[in-house]
């Protein structure tokens, strides 16, 4: 029976020649991920297993990124618990802050996730690695604990929605605008329990960074995973991060999908998700007058080098509006260093922005940019739920790096074209 790309990967990891939607399987894990919020709970559960040992020291990744650098004594204790666990069990992929980054940018950069692999992570944005042609999905801490001990996890094989992409993005439109538009169209539960498989000739026009952004937010439509086919860009990227062998999987031509949604990429415009759901989208140009107090550029969604380049291109030689706080978070140490070498950090600081060490910080209302009552932020992050970035009566508007940077200059939410003379980076 024909299978989707996701089903092929799940079948290969469960020792089955084929799997069908709805089937419960036990699958072999290539990597198990946790962070300083979720791993401490997982460690507590792990230690309840009699005689527990990790299944493979090289296939577990522990990343202190949420409240790291430690924001207070309690978060320092959580990071310490993870650090001690990593030492005790000889975990090879524990990343202290000097070599750290936001987990979903760091793991691909380190070559820890390659096409065809199966990854679970105790963080909902683990679905990011679908950009690399892997199956990856978020789980909770107990699943992480069981995964660390056994190297397997149970899954219900998902059905899929196919997104057929045509044409190419134009102007200032980006992968972020694409995924926000999709979530706006299908809703925050539009892909509940399902795979989102992105296919079609338009895929080739998306950069790897854009694919990571798109797959990252599959969870915001309720999806189990989002996944892209492996093409020349994927192979070139994989060769640049690792020399490990990997297997490419592709959907069968006659695979069954619940439905197909066709998207002409040239119709995608800069898009903003208004409070308090990622599906509450509007064109940036139709936002009305929404004055902002803070701009956040970064996160696992949009903290990669290409994102910083776009933001710097817009901010260079301009000024962040009076009364607006603009905070830039490179997603990893490597990206941070690259941004310094390219002069991007200088452009940010000269424009009146500040630049932080990598951290999930403000995205989840943790630290480094919390909002007060009544304040508004435009952010390149992934969630705008009530209280997400601070006070329950604060507001978060989700957008691309270009829209966020342009809004920082305008002091209100704008389409980049409204403040820039250039017609957009793609012309």
């Amino acid at each position: 029976m024909a299978m989707t790309m996701t089903q092929k990967i799940l079948a290969a990891h469960s020792g089955e020649s084929e799997v069908v939607a709805g089937q419960l399987i036990e699958a072999r894990l290539d990597l198990v991920l946790g962070n300083d919020v979720t791993a401490p709970v997982a460690i507590r559960e792990f230690e309840r297993i009699p005689g527990a040992a990790v299944f493979d020291r090289g296939k577990i990744a522990l990343v202190p990124d949420h409240f790291a650098p430690n924001k207070d004594i309690e978060s320092a204790e959580q990071c310490k618990a993870m650090r001690e666990f990593a030492r005790k069990h000889g975990i090879e992929n524990y990343f202290e802050i000097g070599c750290m980054g936001i987990e979903h940018a760091l793991l691909p950069e380190r070559g820890l996730v390659l096409p065809g692999e199966l990854v679970i992570g105790a963080d909902s944005h683990t679905c990011t690695y679908g950009a690399a042609g892997a199956f990856s999905t978020g789980v909770g801490s107990t699943d992480m604990a069981a995964g660390m001990a056994t190297g397997v996890a149970w899954f219900k094989v998902p059905s899929a929605i196919r997104f057929a992409l045509h044409g190419g993005l134009g102007g200032w439109a980006s992968g972020k605008d694409l995924i926000l538009s999709i979530i706006g169209a299908i809703g925050v539960d539009g892909a509940l329990y399902r795979s989102m498989e992105f296919v079609g000739p338009g895929v080739a026009s998306l950069t790897m960074e854009e694919r990571f952004t798109v797959a990252n937010m599959a969870i915001e439509a309720g999806a189990k995973n989002g996944i892209f086919p492996v093409d020349e860009k994927t192979r070139a990227w994989a060769a640049s991060v690792s020399n490990r062998p990997y297997v490419e999987y592709a959907a069968d031509p006659d695979a069954e999908y619940e439905r197909t949604i066709t998207i002409d990429l040239s119709t995608i415009r800069p898009t903003v998700a208004f409070p308090h759901l990622p599906s509450n989208t509007r064109p940036a140009s139709g936002s009305g007058v929404v004055a902002i107090d803070q701009v956040v550029i970064g996160s696992c969604t949009n903290g990669r080098i290409e994102d910083l380049r776009v933001a710097a291109e817009i901010l260079k030689g301009r000024r962040v509006a009076d009364g607006v706080r603009c905070i830039v978070f490179p997603a990893t140490q490597k990206i941070y260093l690259q941004a310094i070498r390219e002069g991007l950090i200088e452009a940010f600081i000269e424009a009146g922005a500040i630049v932080s060490t990598p951290t999930c910080g403000p995205c989840l209302g943790g630290h480094m940019g919390i909002l007060a009552e009544g304040e508004r932020a435009i952010a390149t992050t992934n969630r705008n739920f009530v209280g997400r970035m601070g006070h329950p009566k604060s507001e978060v508007y989700l957008a691309s790096p270009a829209t966020a940077a342009a809004s920082a200059i305008a002091g209100k939410i704008v389409d980049p074209e409204e403040v820039l003379e250039a017609p957009g980076r793609r012309g």
Binding site: S75, T142, A149, G387
Partner: protein
């Protein structure tokens, strides 16, 4: 429980950020998390909830972050069951894994109002709304998931399996 349990009713897309805001994730102690449960959408919940009460909600309950702290907070609040039209998938897994009873039943979820009295039979999946005099059957769990719940959660399930020497898939 003859008089049934009190219903706490919420709408669609209740996310894990409002079930337990990230500012409290510097702890994973169940009782400390319970003290802030539902705080950002219902500031009175944590103080007024009683053991055995039931949360009833619309679709996509528990969407967003994978934080297991969310079902841990609900369980530690004394809530005996969450009935929703549908659950976000990570929350669904987490609830099963930690032994927080959940039932998916759109009809019971749509009908219930805040303050109703409800009686839930987890074994049969029968949900009775005593205030409205109605009954609905929730979809039963597949045997595999019942196995995890019967074992007392995923860790007990995995422990039993590994001690039986039946680990699979390496």
């Amino acid at each position: 429980m003859e008089n049934g349990s009190r219903v706490w009713k919420y709408g669609d897309d209740v996310d894990t950020d409002v079930i337990v805001p990230a500012r409290y994730l510097t702890t994973s102690v169940p009782e400390e998390l319970a003290a802030h449960c539902m705080e950002d959408i219902d500031s009175g919940f944590a103080k007024a909830v009683s053991p055995g009460d039931v949360i009833v909600a619309g679709g996509n309950f528990g969407c967003g972050s994978s934080r297991e702290h969310a079902p841990i907070a609900i369980k530690a609040s004394g809530v005996s069951c969450v009935v929703a039209a549908s659950f976000a998938r990570i929350f669904f897994r987490n609830a099963i894994n930690i032994g927080l009873p959940i039932l998916e039943c759109p009809e019971a979820a749509a009908e219930a109002e805040n303050g109703d009295r409800m009686s839930v039979d987890l074994a049969s999946g029968m949900i009775r709304n005593l205030t409205r005099g109605t009954s609905h059957a929730a979809a039963p769990f597949p045997p595999f998931m019942r196995g995890i719940m019967d074992a007392g959660g995923l860790i007990a399930y995995v422990s039993a399996k590994s001690s039986a020497g039946s680990r699979k898939g390496s």
